[in-house]
């Protein structure tokens, strides 16, 4: 029996890292000690039999090729970080350690942050422990987040450019989801708290098509959008339409959507697990310089896809028959029914379109970041903020509001919002805008009741 566990300690990039205030950095920057720093072995052979093999790589904030990190001490414990020690090794020139384990079970890999070389630190939340569930004949990938610390302060200009880039990208992703939310809200009046789970659905469907069926990411993404649309159609037919026909009130439906959100999120966690997983392609890409802006290929693709989709949707809403019908139903369902519109059919179409857009947001988010069972839930409030800021139920409003929210979130740290809570600025703006202009930027006053 040969049990092999490959664990990858990859480094994740983060502009947030660059923007961290100096105080936080001083706290977390490791101080290398001379005794542990340089003594990296040339090569750690992979242990025969059951083992945990870890490769430590530094992505250097996404610029250039990942570099192995030698000379870092890693320890494997059984069950928990206080459990029985299985062995300690220092990473070799290829950044690898290989530690033998007795058999199946739960193991914890602990990285000693003191031995990290100068200028490298764990990014993300700076976790130094990772739990690995070893099962027979399965291989597992573990990621530590590592990024390079930029000790000298980045100039204000480059911070603003970096923030704008991430802000526009996340703003566009929020806009896709917000468009879906706004369409559904506009026609049915439903404040859908399960909307975040529709984002997650798109992301997880991509993951399943990609890793489960082995399709390339692009094909998996297309299928995931189709699956999202089908899911939206079924959801409307199976749940929301019967509720509308029963005459269930809007607040009751809102609480039903909360129940649905809990239900779906738990199902996702049940099937997908609690960990964060990556797609098979485009996980890590270096950025090329285009004038002052650094963009990776996937970021360009994400921007193009979302801008095109949003533009096509908006034009379709303005020009096509179905678009006009949707706007008519959203304005006054009773009147459009009496002028001969099939209101239920229009609402079905809205659900299909809305969930497809939201699913696409999930797909792009999965490509841009990673896949997690609560990624949509984490984004939900920002989507709400975008929609409310622009004006509930308006399409252009949702678009503009989302872009503003995305930029607020990513540019906030440049102007003094603590980086670890950069969402706070956007949510605070949401509350302030309601004080001054409750109908939102483009909303109509009569909508707010």
């Amino acid at each position: 029996m040969r049990l092999r566990l490959a664990a990858l300690l990859a480094a994740a990039l983060g502009t947030s890292l660059l923007l961290m205030p100096a105080t936080a950095m001083a706290e977390t920057t490791p101080t290398p000690t001379p005794t542990t720093g340089g003594a990296a072995p040339d090569k750690n052979p992979i242990v025969e039999g059951a083992n945990i093999t870890v490769t430590l790589k530094d992505l250097n904030a996404g610029k250039g090729e990942p570099k192995p990190v030698p000379g870092v001490s890693l320890t494997v414990f059984k069950d928990s970080a206080t459990g029985e020690e299985q062995g300690t090794q220092v990473t070799d020139q290829t950044g690898r350690v290989s530690i033998g384990i007795p058999g199946n079970g739960k193991y914890v890999v602990v990285l000693d942050p003191k031995t990290l070389p100068d200028g490298v630190k764990l990014s993300g939340k700076g976790e130094t422990t990772k739990t690995v569930q070893v099962k027979l004949a399965s291989s597992n990938f573990v990621q530590f987040q590592i990024g390079a610390v930029v000790v000298e302060k980045a100039s204000l200009g480059s911070k603003i450019i970096d923030g704008t880039r991430s802000g526009v990208i996340s703003g566009l992703l929020i806009a896709l989801a917000a468009l879906g939310l706004s369409l559904i809200f506009g026609t049915t009046g439903l404040t859908n708290f399960a909307h975040g789970e529709l984002i997650t659905f798109g992301a997880i469907a991509t993951y399943v098509f990609n890793r489960g069926f082995g399709l390339p990411v692009i094909a998996a993404g297309v299928l995931a959008v189709v699956a999202s649309a089908a899911f939206g159609f079924l959801q409307d037919r199976g749940l929301w339409r019967p509720l509308r026909n029963r005459g269930t009130g809007l607040i009751a439906m809102m609480i039903v959507s909360i129940g649905l959100a809990l239900f779906m999120r738990s199902i996702f966690q049940y099937g997908f697990g609690g960990s964060t997983k990556t797609l098979s392609e485009y996980v890590v890409q270096g950025r090329d310089s285009y004038g002052p802006i650094d963009l990776s290929h996937k970021e360009i693709a994400i921007v193009l896809v979302s801008v095109l989709t949003i533009a096509i949707t908006c034009i379709a809403m303005m020009r096509t028959r179905l678009g006009k019908a949707m706007r008519a139903v959203s304005d006054n369902p009773a009147l459009s029914a009496s002028s001969g519109l099939r209101v239920d059919g229009v609402i079905s179409a809205v659900w299909v379109l809305g969930t497809a857009l939201t699913g696409l947001a999930g797909v792009l988010l999965a490509v841009q970041q990673q896949v997690n069972f609560q990624m949509g839930f984490n984004l939900l409030l920002l989507v709400f903020a975008g929609v409310t800021l622009g004006g509930l139920g308006t399409i252009w409003g949702a678009l503009i509001g989302s872009l503003i929210i995305g930029l607020m979130v990513e540019l906030g740290p440049v102007f003094g919002v603590p980086a670890s809570i950069k969402e706070v600025g956007a949510l605070a703006v949401l509350i302030l805008i309601l004080l001054v202009r409750p109908q939102g930027i483009l909303g109509k006053a009569q909508r707010i009741g």
């Binding site: 607040i251 709400f384 707010i448």
Partner: protein
């Protein structure tokens, strides 16, 4: 499979401190949603601001415990005023979105690494609970066969259920007063109340403050019973669970939230314990390929979500409520 453990877990949860926290929070929501029709989705925010008001006063500022309680409750009142001004004139779902956003803002700020010196970062604050535990008159724990509580839990239960009883008494008294009747009529028809010359905004604000105070009490009790104030405890799921508890018991009934919270925790703990027992050991009752022990803890959440949907669809008035009294139609 050990049914004794399951029954013990279910009953201990139904009468234990966790059910008290949710009962208090749900009493607050009952004032908001049940009686006044305000859709407050940020009860966790009221809880966290009061909890951290106490913890920061005692731990960070080194001031007396009782002053901390007062600071916490005042903080909850101020939060209600700040939330009420922009949103109470707007439609119900605006209040929902703003309150949920505020509770997330508070949770993120309390957990932020930048404010670690004041709020203790993601680990929160500890070391404020001594004066509370020193009042504990009990010598040891209790084991009654189907329920067992430790010494600290026994003290928390005594304090907690007394608080719940006092709050219920207060809600009962207030809601049969003329003031309470105005609240209920605001829920039924805001414009009619306005046409009678009542200041609807002021009444709604008073209801928001009263319910927020109950929420603050729940937050303070929560950190006292567990001895630490941790920001992640106060996430939005907390509010949704409190809503589930309220809706099970029945909104707009004095005892609805209390009974609802006991039933909620009885089911949550019972189902959780059942599935954890069923997947435990080397040859579990439910085989590993269907459900691992990690997954078993999720079944109760799946059932909770499903239950909340079905409850709202088929019996929105809960166990005790009156369907005509539930503000679910919206405007």
């Amino acid at each position: 499979m050990d049914f004794g453990t399951i029954i013990d877990a279910a009953f201990s949860a139904a009468f234990g401190p966790q059910a008290i926290v949710f009962a208090l929070a749900a009493i607050g929501l009952n004032v908001h949603f049940g009686y006044t029709g305000l859709l407050n989705f940020g009860q966790a925010g009221f809880m966290s601001i009061a909890a951290f008001g106490l913890a920061v006063t005692v731990v960070t500022w080194d001031l007396p415990f009782w002053l901390g309680i007062i600071v916490g409750m005042i903080a909850a009142v101020i939060l209600a005023l700040i939330l009420g001004v922009p949103t109470l004139r707007l439609r119900a779902d605006y209040l929902a979105i703003v309150t949920i956003a505020t509770s997330e803002i508070l949770r993120l700020v309390f957990g932020a690494v930048e404010f670690k010196d004041t709020f203790g970062g993601s680990n929160g604050l500890t070391g404020f609970v001594r004066p509370y535990q020193n009042l504990n008159p009990y010598g040891g724990g209790i084991d009654l066969g189907i329920v067992s509580f430790s010494r600290n839990d026994l003290w928390s239960i005594t304090v907690g259920w007394s608080l719940v009883a006092l709050c219920c008494l207060l809600v009962w008294a207030v809601m049969r007063s003329p003031w309470g009747r105005v609240l209920k009529s605001i829920r039924e028809d805001e414009d009619a109340v306005r046409s009678l010359g009542k200041n609807v905004f002021a009444y709604k604000m008073q209801a928001l403050v009263l319910g927020g105070l109950f929420g603050g009490l729940a937050g303070i009790f929560h950190i006292l019973k567990q001895g630490s104030a941790v920001p992640t405890d106060f996430n939005t799921t907390f509010t949704f669970y409190a809503y589930a508890a309220l809706l099970i018991g029945g909104a707009a009934r004095v005892l609805g939230p209390v009974v609802g919270s006991m039933i909620f925790w009885f089911l949550i703990a019972g189902i959780g314990s059942f599935f954890s027992e069923a997947t435990k050991g080397s040859s579990p009752v439910i085989p590993d390929w269907i459900m691992t022990s990690d997954q078993s803890s999720l079944i109760r959440l799946i059932l909770l979500g499903l239950g909340l949907m079905l409850l709202m669809i088929f019996r929105p008035q809960g166990i005790f409520g009156d369907r005509r009294e539930i503000a679910i139609d919206g405007r």
